[in-house]
Amino acid sequence: MAVLTNVVATVRRSPLTVVIALVVVLLAVNLGLSPTMLSGHQLPNTVNLLVPSVLVAMASVPAVMSGRGGIDLSVGPLLGFVNVVLVGVLVPHSLGSVWLSLPLMLAIGAVTGLVNGIAIAYGRLQPVVVTLGSYLVLSGLALVVMPQPVGVVPTWVTYLSGAWLGGYLPRSLLLVVGALVLWRILRYRGAVGTILATGSDDRAAFTSGVRVSRVLCLAYASGGVFAALAGIGLSVLIGSGDPTVGRQYTLAAVAAVALGGNPLIGGRGTMVGPMLGASSLFLIQTMLSSLKVSSLWIQVVYGAVLLFAVCANAALASRLTARPRVGVA
């Protein structure tokens, strides 16, 4: 009995409740509509579509966690830029081998994130401004490097679009696994805790000897690496270069973070939540397309679900964190 109440309490306390419920329901509906969605035949395509969204949601997480209005609007263009550089620069210069191009792309992500972080931490500029600036810079640069969608991806990227075990283990999941491993390492090193502490109260962290500026740089740089992985995921998905597709991922990523139950003011949050949030946004899309609903409706449903989910998250959070509020009736 006590165990049961404990479990119930945990479930109700968890910020993930809403998003898990959402994913379960959407998955059930999707499977009802097209039972073959998870078959070995279709699964790789589905997963390939999903991977960039999940990774780009992961990319926004550290920035949001780091607090004081932390957000990274540049993750979408960064993912597009990485894709364009791979297809438009590295491949033509025969630098497409995995040992060269993979580290290079991750470095692009890390450096971009680092530049954002430096401008925010040392330049003391507001994150929205800085990452909006890099949003514009990166989407402009992508178009300069590659004015039209063209090109082919290197073979190792094509290889990632396949699957093992007769289609039941899509290889693009390796990218997500890579990101999770990196996050896990950061967690074991105590870096995630420090990012969260800084996000919760940077003055407390600073006076306790945390090098706050470095922590911010680390947060944005790790986000950049995740965005670079998402760029590889995009290359896997589209098999070529496209300079414009990346930016639409930014707002979806913010939505995924909020859906996943991470407060946008930072200091708290999980990595799993936003991943599930991205998945549920994706499942809405597949549901609508298998319902043969006009694509025009997607935006409306997107918005409605997002609104509903953040309201539900907030209702749950306010009921459970029994913090005395200055209630002025």
Partner: protein, 551 residues
């Protein structure tokens, strides 16, 4: 005169602490000639100070005297313009808090600096590097943390709760324990006792003493003379950025120290005398119980009196004042406030909301100025006028001149002189509090609720505020004031309601309000009537004069 004193001080410190003096242990931390300016303001001038192993040094001074600057220099938050800091005889440059911590100087700041979203455990080990944590290291940290907590607080804590869910006092304990876990060579406590209740404060002092016996030094800063007298071996007084005197324990009494830091005589701890002219009842509490299962009680507050709310932190006084303000509703029972005619029987109405309270003339000065009391980036005048702006409208358009005129009038009442500062955040804590009180005077209050209004306010300003409160009561308002300071309760209150375990445990009035009777009531013991002078009380409550309301 001041100059000669400074020179003497400098001579004394340099002669006694220069490295190489045989016999004397080298100071843990010594600062020489430290100076810091902010623009045109000289926050600290040629400050020198040393703390020997095992020594507790009290740093005394009013707000703006340079204490906080000295603390920030020692903790690496700021860098000095001139001067040097020596740790164990070696000159060091403390470029960041990290460097200061590495040098063994651990500071607990005036404000509770903690990551409230994180767990208690994370907070206790905040900033302790990030080793690859093995399971044993994690359990080791847990054990150390809970032991340290238990030793200081005398009870256990759930290390896995987010810190923000704890009470203010527990959060304060957390930052103190965090400092102790670092095994400081020099522990700097900057007003760290202001949210602790008497019991915990004594436990903290005992812990500091225990550690001092092992060679730790402590720099202790407090506005409360009784605390300072209780713990310090040596007193260093600062005034307008300069060291104006150093005394050893026993060399000076509280009065002498107050004279040093304020430059004049200020009455401390004297019981106010004179008869109270009580008017009709303004607030009536009927069968109020604050929490489920606590004993209901009744009480009345009349016009013209100052009633203190007291108790150990978290025993119900805070809930009561919030209930009176309409910010929370009592578990059962009701709060009635007299109507505009000032007679409870005329128009007694229950107050259930904050706005309803304000409409009936109940105003509330919150405890945490920065969070609830003001917007520190905004101008003083906005912070003053916000709730009463509709008085300055002519034809729907605000007339700033009218606001200004009103402000000048109310500022005079609270003894606040507007200076050149524009934003309220630049004012000292005491002046901020005056502006906040002036704000509500504009609303012509009949009941004034003050939630620990002198917290972090220096002695001089404190006494100015007392005069203001007295003046308000004499003008016919009912003043209810929560206070965590025994001296203040003894000095100011006509009556004191003491809370224990969520209910009213004692009501003290007149000469029954003594430090001993208060403290025993804090612990739920029946009040002993009169008693001789308390050993901790700074001055005997026999002084014939008291600063009664100037009006």
């Amino acid at each position: 005169m001041i100059n000669s004193e400074i020179r003497a001080v400098t001579l004394e410190t340099t002669s006694s602490d220069v490295a190489g003096t045989p016999g004397a242990a080298p100071a843990i931390v010594e600062v020489r000639g430290l100076s810091k300016r902010f623009g045109a303001t000289r926050a600290l001038v040629d400050g020198s100070l040393s703390v020997a192993p095992g020594e507790v040094v009290a740093l005394l001074g009013e707000n703006g005297s340079g204490k906080s600057t000295l603390v920030k220099l020692l903790s690496g938050v700021l860098s000095p313009d001139e001067g040097q800091i020596f740790v164990a005889g070696t000159a060091v440059r403390l470029r960041s808090p990290r460097a200061a911590l590495a040098a063994g100087i651990v500071t607990v700041f005036q404000e509770i600096l903690a990551a409230r979203d994180r767990l208690v455990l994370d907070n206790l080990w905040l900033g302790h590097g990030s080793p690859v944590l093995s399971r044993t290291a994690v359990t080791g940290r847990r054990r150390l943390a809970s032991e340290a907590w238990h030793r200081l607080a005398g009870h256990d804590v759930d290390l896995d709760r987010p810190l923000g869910e704890l009470t203010l006092m527990e959060q304060q304990i957390c930052v103190v324990v965090r400092a102790l876990l670092r095994d400081p060579k020099l522990l700097v406590l900057d007003e760290s006792t202001s949210t602790l209740d008497v019991e915990l404060r004594d436990r903290l002092f005992a812990e500091v003493r225990r550690r001092a016996a092992d060679g730790m030094g402590c720099l202790f800063i407090s506005h409360r003379m009784d605390e300072v007298m209780a713990i310090a071996d040596r007193f260093v007084a600062l005034r307008t950025g300069q060291v104006v005197g150093v005394r050893r324990r026993g060399e000076a009494d509280a009065r002498e120290l107050i004279r040093l830091i304020s430059g004049r005589d200020v009455e401390a701890g004297a019981r106010r005398t004179g008869t109270v002219r009580r008017g009709s009842a303004a607030v009536r509490l009927e069968d109020v119980s604050l929490r489920p299962g606590t004993r209901p009680f009744a009480a009345t507050v009349s016009r013209g009196e100052i009633v203190g709310l007291a108790g150990l932190e978290g025993h119900g006084q805070d809930e009561l004042i919030r209930c009176l303000a309409g910010l929370q509703t009592p578990h059962s029972g009701s709060v009635h406030v007299a109507g505009p005619k000032g007679r409870a029987d005329d128009d007694p109405a229950a107050v259930t909301t904050y706005r309803g309270g304000v409409a009936r003339g109940v105003v509330y000065v919150p405890r945490d100025r920065k969070v609830e009391g003001m917007a520190d980036v905004l101008p003083i005048i906005d912070n003053y006028s916000m709730p009463t702006l509709d008085r300055d409208r002519i034809g729907g358009v605000l007339r700033p001149r009218r606001t200004k005129t009103r402000f000048q009038r109310d500022a005079r009442t609270v003894n606040f002189t507007p200076g050149r500062q524009d934003s309220i955040g630049r004012l000292s804590g005491g002046n901020q509090q005056k502006v906040i009180i002036a704000r509500w005077l504009a609303a012509e209050p009949r009941v004034i609720l003050l939630n620990d209004p002198t917290r972090g306010v220096d002695l001089k300003t404190k006494h100015e505020l007392y005069e203001v409160f007295r003046g308000l009561a004499d003008a016919g308002a009912a003043v209810v004031m929560l206070s965590s300071e025994v001296d203040e309760l003894v000095h100011l209150m006509d009556r004191v309601l003491v809370f224990h375990d969520g209910s009213l445990s004692a009501e003290l009035a007149g000469d029954d309000v003594t430090p001993e009777s208060l403290v025993s009531a804090y612990f739920g013991r029946p009040a002993v009537p009169t008693a001789p002078t308390a050993p901790t009380a700074p001055t005997a409550p026999t002084a014939p004069t008291a600063p009664t309301g100037g009006h």
